[in-house]
């Protein structure tokens, strides 16, 4: 990966508009451009340089799960607005817009499925829903996935993609850290395995809670995996950042991951791990 995700621009309300963003189907690493169907056919991986584009939760579930095996759970859990939070727009409006744009009720989709005939529980986050941020509803849905895995005695496969806790829920979003940690500890106590796939980005509150507690933890190539992202580190400490700061590759080198598995090989990898734990 030659791409560095270091961005040191200071955000300010009078700042000039950012450079025009590239088209979502244009590879930020090598500039190759794809049609929607080309990207979908390649699991949203750049055929030229191997860059991993974001993959939506439903698409990933469809790919991981044996055909027709996925049964969604906790679909009715929705966020509320306990603080009547208003920044530049009301939180309730941001929620409604996210639901409209993503077709999802929240930033995580959970349910039962099978993968190569291994029964599993799946919990898959979607960055497109408010940056995959974890509020009360995400915490609740993840916890219910843990309970469902324990109840059926099947492994939990968790796919993370999140900017962290959802600030609009204030302290309650911070409490989702211990809440999900408790749910994972109950899972551990029941002897149920948890396999975690970290995708770009897995940061802050989600990394500092359930994402870090898997029995086997892998990441996608080039994913940012950091408690504090490069921009904030740079602004706060003025430190010189290494080129691969916070990326999956650095995390592997420092011992925080069991492996980096390209998307195309993940299904086979998961199947092998599930076989070992069955």
């Amino acid at each position: 990966m030659s791409e560095t995700r270091i961005d040191v621009q200071v955000e300010h309300k009078h700042a000039p508009p950012p450079e025009t963003a590239k088209h979502p189907n244009t590879c930020p690493t090598c500039g190759s451009h794809y049609r929607d169907d080309e990207l979908a056919g390649a699991l949203w991986v750049c055929g030229h340089c191997g860059h991993h584009f974001p993959m939506r939760a439903r698409a990933r579930i469809e790919w991981y799960a044996d055909e027709g095996s996925f049964a969604e759970e906790a679909m009715d859990v929705r966020s509320e607005d306990p603080l009547s939070f208003f920044d530049l727009r009301p939180y309730s409006e941001r929620l409604a817009e996210a639901e409209l744009n993503t077709g999802l009720g929240e930033a995580i989709v959970v349910g039962q499925a099978s993968l190569d005939d291994h029964p599993i529980e799946l919990a898959v986050m979607d960055f497109a829903f408010m940056g995959g941020s974890m509020g009360s509803a995400v915490g609740e849905k993840f916890s219910r996935a843990c309970d469902a895995a324990v109840e059926r005695g099947v492994p939990l496969v968790s796919v993370t993609s999140s900017g962290g806790a959802r600030m609009q829920e204030g302290i309650l979003s911070l409490m989702q850290l211990p809440k999900t940690v408790c749910a994972v500890e109950d899972l551990h106590d029941a002897g149920v395995p948890m396999i975690t796939v970290m995708t770009h980005p897995t940061t802050a509150g989600v990394l500092a809670s359930f994402a870090s507690l898997g029995d086997v933890t892998i990441a996608e190539p080039g994913a940012l995996i950091a408690f504090t992202g490069p921009r904030v580190v740079q602004q706060t400490t003025r430190e010189k950042l290494p080129d691969d700061f916070g990326l999956a590759e650095q995390n592997l080198r420092f011992g925080h991951l069991d492996g980096i598995v390209p998307r195309g090989e993940q299904r086979e990898y998961l199947s092998r791990v599930l076989r070992l734990f069955s």
Binding site: K13, G135, I171, L174, L207, S212, L213, T228, V233
Partner: protein, 311 residues
């Protein structure tokens, strides 16, 4: 109309206006400015001022820190240093001492008093090594049946290159996990800043208390303002929006009680603040005394698993 309804109504109208892209820069701006100034006036009501006062008192440079309380609360204090792996993190102190006649284990963030000490202790922002040290002492507490007391006072976990390389996120997750496993009574008190993951890492306790002027939040007011308002100068507005003060945390079911402070803040009378903290800690531990260990653990997990508001 109540004040709250007025506010909501204004916000809805303002938000409606700001989403009229075609009209930007035209007359709407004047209307939007007028609504915004009405909102700003509403936003600086007494409650919001009280919240900001807590933010200022929680960060007051003379506020008592963990070691100031240790010397007033604990007898026979023995500080335990180092994580047995890499370092001794001065931002998080740990040790054993006697509280009200019995041995307790203590973990707590420690800010520095003068410039040199502040730098040595990274302004109370712990590295992963600090949380590893805390976990080591939690393990001692569990093995010997010592109750665990946590004193939380940090702007957040240290946001640096080495901290990331040493696994800051994982350390915070595992420190919480260690607390969910303990079968001894645990009490945490936020004594200043309860900043985000770095704070909750040592606050997954049977009883979580907050001093009257402490704050507990998912992000600093400045950080929240920089992200959501795109201007760190809007910290006061951000604090009013996410309500980090003790009363709101109690109302939301996040903490179990508020510890009174001397009038005007703990820094004006540290001895009295320590006496009030002692009384609250002793009372909380007494309530937990007769509960069997596995039941403590079960109740602790049930409490945290019940947190959140959703439909």
């Amino acid at each position: 109309m109540t004040e709250r309804e007025t506010e909501l109504n204004l916000r809805q109208r303002l938000s409606g206006l700001s989403r009229l892209p075609l009209l930007r820069g035209a007359k709407v701006d004047g209307e939007a400015d007028r609504l915004q100034s009405q909102l700003d006036r509403l936003a600086t009501d007494a409650g919001d001022e009280a919240i900001w006062r807590s933010v200022e008192l929680a960060r007051h440079p003379e506020r008592p820190y963990t070691l100031d309380y240790v010397e007033r609360l604990l007898e026979d204090w023995v500080e335990l240093h180092g994580d047995r792996g890499r370092a001794d993190d001065g931002a998080l102190v740990t040790g054993l001492g006697r509280l009200d006649g019995r041995t307790v284990a203590l973990v707590g963030h420690q800010k520095g008093r003068d410039v040199k000490e502040r730098i040595d202790r990274q302004f109370g922002m712990a590295y992963p090594e600090g949380y590893h040290k805390a976990m080591r002492v939690m393990e001692i507490a569990g093995r010997f049946g010592f109750p665990l007391v946590s004193l939380v006072d940090t702007p957040g976990a240290y946001p640096g290159v080495l901290a990331e390389q040493h696994g800051q996120g994982g350390a915070i997750a595992r420190s919480q996990a260690a607390m969910t496993r303990l079968e001894v009574p645990t009490v945490a008190c936020i004594i200043g800043e309860g900043g985000s993951g770095g704070a909750v890492a040592i606050a997954v306790a049977d009883r979580v208390l907050m001093q009257e002027n402490a704050i507990y939040s998912v992000i600093t007011p400045e950080g929240c303002a920089a992200i959501l308002w795109r201007d760190a100068g809007e910290a006061k507005k951000a604090a009013a929006a996410f309500k980090p003060d003790a009363q709101h945390c109690l109302d939301l079911g996040v903490i179990d009680g508020i510890v009174p402070e001397p009038g005007g803040g703990a820094h004006l009378d540290p001895a009295l603040a320590a006496a009030q903290l002692r009384a609250a800690l002793v009372e909380a531990l007494e309530e937990l005394d007769d509960v069997p260990g596995d039941e403590l653990r079960r109740r602790r997990r049930a409490k945290f698993r019940g947190m959140g508001v959703f439909a």
